[in-house]
């Protein structure tokens, strides 16, 4: 009696674990497969891919990578994206934190009004405003220029909102202590508020970087030459230029593009999570 209960329980757990591993395995396969296949084919000779022989065919080759690096502007695309994303990230950190500071530590007329204004912009999708924005940047003479992909995105309502939440957690005592010490707003901002909110700033940085890195529609509309195209649109370009279906080269380019983001993400993962909690769920 005692033994059967024990045995049944053990058996059940064993069965359950096997089932779980099976499910985990299947799901992991589904998640990783498109990746793995892409990377795998990037090492195959173009002829094999075109014929559809994905395994058991010829040998693995780095030829596609050589082609991608030498025949396409993939490195240039990467550099462009890096520059744009870095600039946008720095600008977000700077302008959003200043804005958030104003909402938390400054006392001025219509503060709430302005806050709702900023909040309101989060409801307006950029995608729906491309037509007038295009006209604006054209008027400003920014077309086909890095600045066209940076200037409209120098600040972010989400960033201001998120940092405001963070800054509000800073004890009021600190501000009062700073007042007693005679720190100006700028000093308090730079010496206390910014270091205090490091984690949130990192989170915002991670978001802004990824957001800028993944820009697609806007650069597509506003850039006209390869040496300015960011990587997303560069890949689009490669994809459409190839009537020949040189899949190996395209896959190699995709692999080249995906690796830096994966690295950034594994480093920034933690911040993403905490940022989400702060920015929204809380």
């Amino acid at each position: 009696m005692e033994n059967t209960i024990m045995k049944q329980a053990t058996k059940k757990r064993l069965l359950g674990n096997t089932f779980k591993y099976l499910l985990l395995g299947i799901l992991a396969f589904i998640v990783i497969f498109p990746f793995a296949l892409g990377i795998w084919t990037s090492f195959l000779p173009s002829m094999d891919i075109a014929k559809g022989t994905l395994w058991g065919g010829g040998q693995l080759t780095l030829h596609n990578y050589v082609t991608a690096f030498t025949q396409t502007k993939i490195l240039r695309y990467l550099l462009n994206s890096l520059v744009i994303a870095t600039l946008v990230t720095l600008a977000h950190l700077f302008f959003c934190s200043l804005g958030a500071y104003a909402f938390v530590f400054l006392d001025f007329k219509y503060r709430d009004f302005f806050f709702y204004v900023v909040l309101g912009t989060m409801m307006l999708p950029f995608e729906a405003e491309v037509i007038p924005n295009f006209a604006t940047v054209k008027m400003l003479g920014l077309l086909n220029h890095y600045s066209v992909m940076v200037i409209p995105f120098l600040t972010s309502a989400f960033g201001i909102f998120m940092l405001r939440q963070t800054f509000k957690q800073i004890p009021r005592d600190l501000k009062e202590a700073a007042d007693v010490d005679g720190l100006s707003h700028w000093q308090f901002y730079w010496k206390v508020v910014m270091p205090y909110s490091k984690i949130s700033l990192c989170t915002l940085a991670a978001y802004s970087f990824l957001g800028a890195w993944n820009q697609y529609l806007w650069p597509m509309l506003t850039t006209f030459s390869d040496h300015l195209r960011p990587v997303q649109d560069g890949l689009r370009q490669l994809q459409s230029e190839e009537t020949f279906n040189d899949w190996g080269m395209v896959q190699a380019s995709a692999a080249i593009v995906v690796v830096p983001t994966l690295i950034v993400l594994y480093i920034g993962q933690h911040y993403f999570k905490s940022g989400l909690n702060e920015g929204s769920v809380k």
Binding site: K20, Y21, L27, A28, V31, I32, P34, F35, L37, G38, I49, G52, L54, F95, L98, A102, F103, L106, L119, T121, L124, P125, F126, E127, A128, E129, V130, I131, P132, A135, T136, P152, L154, A157, I160, D179, V180, D181, G182, S184, W186, Y216, L217, L221, L235, R236, Q239, W247, Q251, S253, A254, V257, V258, T261, L262, L265, Y266, F272, N277, V281
Partner: protein, 318 residues
Amino acid sequence: MIESLPSTKQQPKGPEANQEITAKVKSFELKKNDKYYAWLFLGPSILLLTVFVFFPMLRTLYLSLFLTDTFGNPTVFVGLKNYAILLKSTSYIASLKATGTYVISVSIFTIIFGLLLAALANQKLRGIGFFRNIFTATMGVSVSVSAVFWLFMFNPSIGILNKVVTAFGFHPIAWLTTPGWAMTAVIATTVWMHLGFTFLLFFGALQAVPKSLYDAASVSGASSRYQFWHITLPMISPTMFFVAVITLISGFKSFGLIDLMTGGGPTNATNLLVYRVYKDAFMNGNYAQASTEAIFLTIIIAIITFVQFKLLAKRVNY
């Protein structure tokens, strides 16, 4: 710091009283100065948001009331006629429906799969860290990279999916060129793309559920399934809601994947709202109609965002 202030030096009183008074004076001055600092600090953001968000919105609204010429200039005022045309247009209605199908399917499947992955990864099993890493992997994949990977799989002649299909004795499927399948393909790719991020969110939410709740439940007689439905789900409902909202919003804004995978086709089956705006404006040159479509899009997204704010303020479960 204080020594450097000239006012302090002029005060003949004792050091303590001295400091206090200075602080008061200073703080009073600061409050007075706040206004200028506010302009300095907030000015750039407000200016940028005005130029690149508010003004364009009004301009879009304005354009939607006109007919536009070849150069995109509004020439003939037509009032709400553009709206009427759009609402009567079967293809726009079809686009709305397609977008609806897309965003709803994407959010449902993203939630289901994300939750499934997170729930499994939350188990205490040997080697679970490996699976966790795999599940977050798609987070690094951008739209264009996903599109490249999946386009290859959906390729009708050399794609892996058709190999599987034919291996089971079925006819190969024209994935991206049959309306139903194209939508399915786009949804599948989008869900896959969202999976890593959603997984991370759900995983975080699951880990945040106090273990004692499960202990209490299992002691008081709840099976693990019962615990999932009656503890886990209610506890992570805010996260679920959040995921639903962000996938909905990003679904409505979906552009890159459509552009790369289907170009809105076949028979407009995947001609989602943003893609339509783009196509009407930057291919067909019909800026008035595109503006009208943009206004509709804005209204939809604004409503969802607003609901999100409201509900988050109230919290969803407790």
